[in-house]
């Protein structure tokens, strides 16, 4: 494809951007939305932008949402662009989600489990009826009830299954994982790279792919072993100190999807895991990610690869909404020369056909 540099249009662009700024602000008689309000009251949008922008910073994500007028893909794009201006200090110690300070933790495989089912701040069990009370400005809601907390951390469901030998253990390894922000993806991609791509992937795309595996495109029979959401401590070992220190806490959501595995010549029948981990409170995304992660493990588990969600190149090259929007939206850019050549070709074809027709008529 070819592009032509075109001059002109600056005044039109400036006017368009001025109008955009006016539209973004909306009616000046209304109070302006503050970043603190976005962070606090549109928290799940902030979480989604951080996850898909692959950059955890609530304030920056709120700013991106304000700047993009609530276009969350545009906001993720802004966050991705901003992160390229920052130096990387290094990599954290792997987050210990087993030590998560739980805000929500549920399992669909065990009713009674150590630590119990903790619903947390969930939309589940709401009636999905529009609440017109929210349309009227009113007093803040009463504080949520509190109860004595017995323990802060809870064992993982996968651990319970693993203790019985029913769950395939994750191979222990401290190998330095590949990083697709530093080296372009190559196929086949190992699971570390696949999980990185899925963690920053588009929620909608992964949701649809995950759904397809349930509907028969991939023969999955998943159970939610566990979903947990809460705060984990970020630890980092600066070289000048020589020991790890705590940098703070972030909220993450983790999903362990339990799938059946028929076994092979060397392994007995057991359960296998699909894994989802995302920044913030992103339950749907973590579940979709876990379904797709499991589907992408088909090859290593000796299963047939015949559904879209099982095809690495298809999933990993199309799950990034910043890349996808870039390539789809680039079609808006001037393609004058490309199109001119197509136009000429078409005219030529038509002229040739017309002449042939005339010749036939004359004969």
């Amino acid at each position: 494809m070819a592009y032509v540099a075109v001059k002109g249009g600056e005044r039109a662009i400036e006017a368009a951007h001025a109008w955009l700024a006016e539209e973004r602000r909306g009616d000046p008689a209304l109070a302006e939305l503050s970043l603190a309000q976005i962070e606090a009251q549109l928290g799940l949008a902030v979480d989604r932008v951080m996850a898909e922008g692959a950059c955890h910073d609530r304030g920056l994500a709120a700013l991106a949402i304000k700047q993009s007028r609530g276009d969350l893909i545009e906001a993720a794009f802004l966050l991705r662009a901003y992160r390229t201006t920052l130096a990387r200090f290094g990599a954290s110690e792997p987050l210990d989600t087993g030590a998560m300070r739980i805000r929500r933790r549920i399992s669909a495989t065990y009713k009674e489990l150590p630590g119990g089912q903790v619903l947390g701040p969930t939309f589940d069990y709401t009636h999905r009826l529009l609440d017109f009370a929210l349309a009227a400005e009113g007093a803040p809601p009463p504080p949520a009830p509190r109860a004595a907390a017995a323990e802060a951390t809870m064992p993982r469901v996968t651990g319970i299954l693993a203790a019985e030998g029913l769950m395939a253990p994750e191979p222990a390894s401290e190998a330095e994982p590949g990083d697709l922000t530093r080296e372009p993806l190559a196929f086949p991609a190992d699971r570390a790279l696949r999980l990185q791509a899925l963690a920053r992937g588009d929620e909608g795309f992964l949701l649809s792919l995950g759904y397809s595996t349930q509907r028969g495109y991939g023969n999955a029979h998943p159970f939610v072993g566990e979903i947990r959401m809460g705060a984990v401590t970020v630890e980092f070992a600066p070289p000048e100190l020589g020991f790890a220190i705590e940098l703070g806490e972030i909220t993450v959501t983790e999903c362990q999807m339990v799938n059946q595995f028929a076994g092979s010549k060397t392994e007995p029948p057991q359960f296998t895991r699909g894994y989802g981990l995302v920044f913030g409170h992103g339950e749907r995304k973590s579940m979709a990610m876990a379904l797709v992660d499991r589907a992408l493990r088909a090859e290593e588990l000796g299963e047939a690869v015949d559904a879209p969600a099982q095809v690495q190149e298809f999933v990993l090259l199309h799950c990034d909404n910043v890349e996808a929007t870039g390539f789809v939206e680039h079609l808006k850019l001037p393609h004058y020369v490309d199109f001119q050549s197509e136009l000429e070709k078409l005219r030529e074809l038509r002229a040739t056909a017309q002449m042939a027709g005339q010749r036939e008529a004359a004969e």
Binding site: A87, R88, F89, G90, R182, P239, E240, L241, G242, F243
Partner: protein
């Protein structure tokens, strides 16, 4: 308090890291585009001995966490580089993206010379010399030099000219060289030819 803390004795890096690294990068770009022409740096870091300011500035500008560095400058300089550039330090010259030599530069055949497919992945050697002087010494020619240019670098190891000719013979593979003395530097990209003038 902790005996393991290797940071006491550390000195600051660039006073204003972003503008200083940008102006040093500009000087390095000029130096590489006009081989042998001496560039004087203005924003210099407070580097520990034996590092000269220009050599320290060049490494601080070029190296980061993704570029392994080899150096013979000793533990104080290593701690300073690790702290300010955030670069991993390696003992094997062949494993480094940048090499910072103060007293005993490695054989020019040792650093990574890139591959025929990707010659730009080669290493750059920052070599600290006693003095740089224009208008004397070698006669330089090659891309970026209209006719010839003269540069004298004092304190290079014996046999350097022959090693440099061998480096040029591997083109497009090869290493590039940044010579530093005090607050000045001059570059010899692998395409520059040297003639010893008497």
């Amino acid at each position: 308090m902790t005996a393991a803390d290797p940071s006491p004795g550390l000195t600051p890096g660039f006073a204003a890291p972003v503008p200083a690294a940008q102006s040093c990068f500009r000087a390095l770009l000029e130096a590489m585009s006009r081989p042998g022409l001496i560039q004087t740096l203005t924003a210099l870091p407070e580097a520990p001995a034996p590092l000269a300011p220009a050599a320290a500035a060049a490494i601080l500008t070029l190296a980061d966490a993704d570029t392994p560095v080899w150096t013979d400058a000793g533990p104080a300089a290593e701690a300073w580089l690790r702290f300010h550039a955030g670069c991993p330090l390696v003992a094997d010259p062949a494993a480094a993206s940048f090499l910072l030599a103060t007293a005993s530069p490695p054989d020019l055949a040792l650093p990574d010379a890139g591959t025929e497919e990707e010659p730009h992945r080669s290493a750059t050697l920052v070599l600290q010399v006693a003095a740089l002087e224009a208008g004397a010494g070698w006669t330089l020619s090659g891309p970026g030099i209209e006719t010839t240019h003269r540069l004298h670098a004092a304190g290079l190891p014996a046999g350097f000219a022959a090693a440099w000719a061998a480096n040029a013979a591997r083109f497009p593979r090869g290493v590039d060289l940044v010579l530093c003395a005090g607050d000045s530097l001059a570059a010899l990209p692998r395409t520059t030819r040297l003639e010893e003038t008497r």
